[in-house]
């Protein structure tokens, strides 16, 4: 499997995701945002970080990069796109995924391991998780508060586009377990065709046991299936 990792000015998890993908024998190419061609690949990753300093709105300026036209083309062929954290924000700004990510409800940056439920384990990104799996993955963001209007939320539910949801210590989906105020505790969604994933948690940060939980491993294994 081959992945293109897009590097924007201000991306800072680009190396992290590369290290993680390579650990699972996925070959990576780093693509500078000004390039206007994408080498052939099965997967495009928009990494975490602060593209353009997250100035204006997170992901807004990156979403207008030259390379994003190519990413859109890549996605339209049904090939995989993953946006993690800032990458998720870029995907919503590009409208490849619906909704928007607002400032965390408590108005603070949060870096913490949080509890998640894998709501949909039939996507190409989650098929190695058990159904309704309870997992722990770190988040690190200031704007992860997922927002969409009622109609969109309803569609997300109906089409089973919600992939990860925040939950509390007892794996109940409620306000207590919602770190940032996201609608429906949404932590990650896919498009209807299920080839584009956006998620706030960082699976690349938890694939080694000695750094804490390693619940990110099935995520990368799913890609290989």
């Amino acid at each position: 499997m081959i992945a293109n990792i897009i590097v924007f000015p201000g991306s800072n998890c680009d190396r992290d995701i590369k290290v993680a993908l390579e650990k699972f024998q996925i070959k990576c190419k780093m693509i500078w945002h000004q390039e206007n061609e994408l080498p052939k690949a099965d997967l495009v990753v928009l990494p975490g970080g602060f593209s353009y300093g997250d100035y204006l709105r997170c992901g807004s300026m990156a979403s207008k990069s030259v390379i994003m036209n190519e990413v859109i083309k890549h996605a339209s062929t049904g090939a995989y796109v993953i946006g993690i954290c800032n990458g998720f924000q870029i995907l919503t700004e590009t409208k490849l995924l619906p909704g928007a990510l607002l400032r965390n409800y408590m108005l603070k940056f949060i870096c913490r391991r949080i509890n998640l439920i894998v709501k949909n384990n039939t996507t190409p990104f989650t098929n190695k998780y058990k159904n309704k799996a309870k997992i722990k993955i770190p988040i690190a963001h200031n704007e992860g508060n997922y927002y969409a209007d009622e109609a969109t939320l309803k569609k997300l539910e109906e089409n089973e586009q919600i992939v990860f949801q925040y939950c509390d210590e007892n794996y109940e989906i409620n306000n207590n377990g919602n770190p940032n105020g996201s609608s429906l505790n949404i932590a990650g969604i896919v498009n209807k065709k299920q080839n584009i994933l956006g998620m706030m948690p960082h699976p690349e940060r938890c694939i080694e046991n000695f750094l804490g939980e390693a619940d990110g491993i099935p995520f990368f294994e799913s890609l290989l299936k």
Binding site: G10, G53, K108
Partner: protein, 730 residues
């Protein structure tokens, strides 16, 4: 141009004597630009005129030190041709005036000191001190500083892995914001700031120069008073996005072998960077100010030279490499400009509009800067006092509950949750433990780092306090299994023109020196922040020490969380029960008199080495240093994260039990031992001659039992421990 006179010199913070000295050295009256340059180079912040004499006495070498003080940061050897580069720096004054931007630019500044030397920054730490929690400004300052550090560090993508935070009324008018950073690179890839090669081009890269922060460095060299707010220069605004680009661009350029020397523009901006580079290389430098990228039109030479705009670097390139350099900086969207060249005149020549606007000998600005032997008084050591009568009426359980919920001892995750401490995926021990552990990327080894200081000890006995701060970092490193290598220090003090303050400074340095020498744990970089006074009231002497150690194998580390019930808990080191200057007395009972605990450096070394060895041999399950708050606080800090209770059995009662549990005797550790490892461990302890005492056993119940007499519910303690910051910031 404004005509210079004595009065104007005085407004620039130069004394009459200093002004006269300038005229004598340069043989003319300086023009306004020259005066500004002198005032920047000769102020405390850049010239270290009050502290130099004493800083020279610090031990700075051991077998691993590659570069000691004198460069942008110090460099140590961490094996396999890898080096770690680190330094700590203060940003106290700006943070008091504008907490968010002050703290943010503090982080930005120390990051530049690290990557200017060729290292990729891998970990940030910070040491923060605020006034008392109920002081009206504290909440605002706390929130501003923490989000400023987070805002800058998170954006640039360097993990903030540790630090300390303390509240004390002595900081009401002068908060302390000290930022430390560590970077890693290869031994043969270190860059220095010594300019060389007459004719080589001098390059300006980074952001544009604006009218911000003019005279920031001189402000950092003055006391505050009511008028400070009015006098304040325009505060610098941090731009972490540009810094990220600057970081990547510099590291990219460094691969091309085009750089002769490189230096960040920090305090006193273009002035100090150009003068320092030239001075170190014993060359002259000529700059055409019209070539300096400016944000605003019509900036005067004075303003350009004194601006402290952030995210800028000065580079001396090999001749002919300008185009390669320009290409890289263009790619990253940063300004690039050839602004001058090195000369053989040993002079700083500045040209603006085809006119020479400054013509000064480099040595006049640097080597001939004043150096003072300030008057100092030997600090009066505190007398022993009798605590028994003051304490004996308190219930032990009540004292424990008070300590665990005090702002200085409470759970500080409110702070570090705001810092991205995991980015780069090498953070092994997260904030909240003893020392943070950061894996050296792509290897099996790690470095450990910590920042510590106990200012209440330093106030009471500067010598012991200086020693103790060094030892506490040493202990924190040992307790995670790291071999301590070297330190950086940030010396925060009041007004050095007062003999009693200077006396504190001198004694603290003596204490630090003594400890560093014995522990073979030298100083490789640092910073001095004086004049931390408001209306004549100074802070407690606060020599913050940043310690760095090496872990050769990441499978041989430890943390402070109890692992399971049924294990034995030992204290390594002697417990006499020294209450003077303890948290119990100082913070809880408000008894601020008394002397701090004594220290025996031989024991410090012996106990530390023993712990490292035991961790290596996997004989202990968890380990924690015993310091502020004594045994009881260490034990609680081991119980709380794992929710494991303990049965403590101590052959003491009444006041003696209080002394035993809360006393802050030094050089101690608490460890958790599996029963099957006890025998080997005991044998080792006896062989090595370390003192030890078994004090209890971890249990399944969520309770803390003391001598079957007192019982505390662990869940209650956890709640007490967790609530302070949340309630405070509601």
């Amino acid at each position: 141009m404004i005509e210079v006179n004595k009065k104007i010199a005085e407004n620039h913070g130069l004394t009459e004597d200093e002004y006269e000295k300038i005229i004598k050295i340069i043989g003319k009256k300086p023009n306004f630009t020259e005066l500004g340059i002198f005032s920047a180079m000769w102020n405390e912040h850049c010239s270290y005129k009050s502290s130099k004499k004493w800083l020279k006495t610090l031990p700075t070498k051991n077998e691993r030190v590659i570069q000691g003080p004198g460069e942008n940061a110090g460099v140590i050897d961490i094996d396999d041709d890898d080096v770690a580069i680190f330094k700590i720096e203060s940003h106290n004054h700006p943070s008091f005036i504008e907490p968010y931007q002050g703290a943010a630019t503090g982080v930005g500044g120390i990051l530049r000191d690290i990557f200017t030397m060729g290292a990729r920054p891998v970990a940030s730490l910070n040491s923060l001190r605020f006034g008392s929690a109920d002081h009206p400004k504290t909440k605002y300052l706390l929130n501003g500083v923490v989000s400023g550090i987070a805002g800058y560090g998170n954006c640039i993508g360097v993990p903030t892995v540790g630090g300390e935070i303390e509240f004390d009324s002595c900081y009401n008018g002068n908060i302390l914001v000290n930022a430390m950073n560590i970077g890693i690179t290869k031994k043969n890839k270190v860059f220095y700031s010594i300019a060389s090669g007459v004719g080589n081009p001098v390059i300006y890269v980074g952001s544009k120069t604006g009218r911000d922060g003019i005279h920031g460095a001189s402000m950092a060299s003055q006391e505050f008073d009511e008028n400070t707010e009015a006098k304040k220069p325009t505060v610098q605004v941090g731009d972490p996005f540009s810094e990220k680009l600057l970081l990547e661009a510099c590291l990219e350029l460094m691969k091309t072998n085009a750089i002769v020397s490189i230096q960040d523009m920090g305090a006193a901006g273009l002035t100090s960077s150009s003068v320092e580079m030239a001075s170190k290389g014993k060359v002259g430098i000529e700059i055409n100010l019209d070539k300096v990228p400016c944000r605003e039109k019509g900036m005067s030479p004075y303003e350009i030279m004194l601006s402290e705009s952030q995210e800028r670097m000065l580079i001396v390139l090999k001749e002919g490499r300008e185009k390669d350099c320009e290409k890289i900086f263009n790619k990253w969207g940063l300004d690039f400009s050839v602004i001058g060249k090195l000369t053989n005149t040993n002079k700083l020549i500045l040209i603006s509009n085809n006119k020479v606007v400054c013509d000064l000998a480099i040595s006049a600005l640097s080597d001939q800067a004043p150096e003072y032997d300030r008057k100092w008084e030997k600090p009066i050591t505190e007398k022993k006092i009798d605590f028994k009568t003051k304490i004996k009426n308190f219930q032990i359980t009540e004292l424990i509950e008070k300590i665990i919920s005090h702002p200085n001892q409470t759970n500080k995750s409110w702070v570090w949750d705001q810092y991205d401490h995991m980015v780069m995926c090498d953070t092994i021990n997260q904030p909240g433990g003893n020392a943070s552990i950061i894996r050296v990327h792509d290897t099996n080894k790690a470095i450990a780092a910590t920042v510590d200081c106990t200012p209440r000890y330093c106030k009471s006995s500067p010598f012991l306090g200086g020693m103790q701060a060094v030892c506490e970092t040493y202990r924190n490193l040992c307790s995670v299994g790291a071999t301590p290598i070297a330190i950086t220090n940030c010396l925060n003090f009041g007004n050095p023109e007062k003999p009693e303050i200077m006396g504190q400074f001198v004694d603290v340095i003596k204490g630090i020196s003594e400890a560093c020498k014995k522990l073979n744990y030298p100083v490789i970089s640092g910073n001095v922040s004086l004049y931390n006074e408001t209306n004549g009231i100074g802070i407690n002497p606060t020599p913050v020490i940043g310690g760095v150690g090496l872990i050769k194998n990441i499978s041989q580390t430890s943390n402070h969380k109890f692992k399971e019930a049924g294990n034995l808990v030992y204290i390594i080191g002697d417990t006499i029960g020294h209450l003077g200057q303890s948290i119990l007395c100082y913070d809880i009972l408000n008894i601020k008199k008394g002397e701090p605990p004594p220290l025996e450096l031989e024991k410090e070394i012996k106990n530390g080495k023993f712990i490292i060895e035991a961790i290596k041999q996997k004989l202990i399950q968890s380990s924690h240093d015993v310091s502020s708050g004594g045994i009881i606080l260490s034990i609680l800090e081991m119980c709380i994260p794992s929710k494991i209770g303990i049965n403590l059995n101590i052959d003491k009662s009444g006041f003696q039990l209080i002394e035993y549990l809360f006393g802050e005797d030094q050089s101690r550790y608490a460890i958790e031992v599996k029963p099957e490892n006890e025998a080997v461990l005991l044998k080792n302890m006896k062989n090595k001659g370390v003192s030890f005492k078994k004090i209890g056993k971890t249990i399944n119940e969520k309770y803390i039992h003391i001598n079957n007499k007192y019982k505390l519910n662990l869940n209650n303690l956890i709640e007490l421990h967790n609530k302070w910051f949340k309630n405070y910031n509601k």
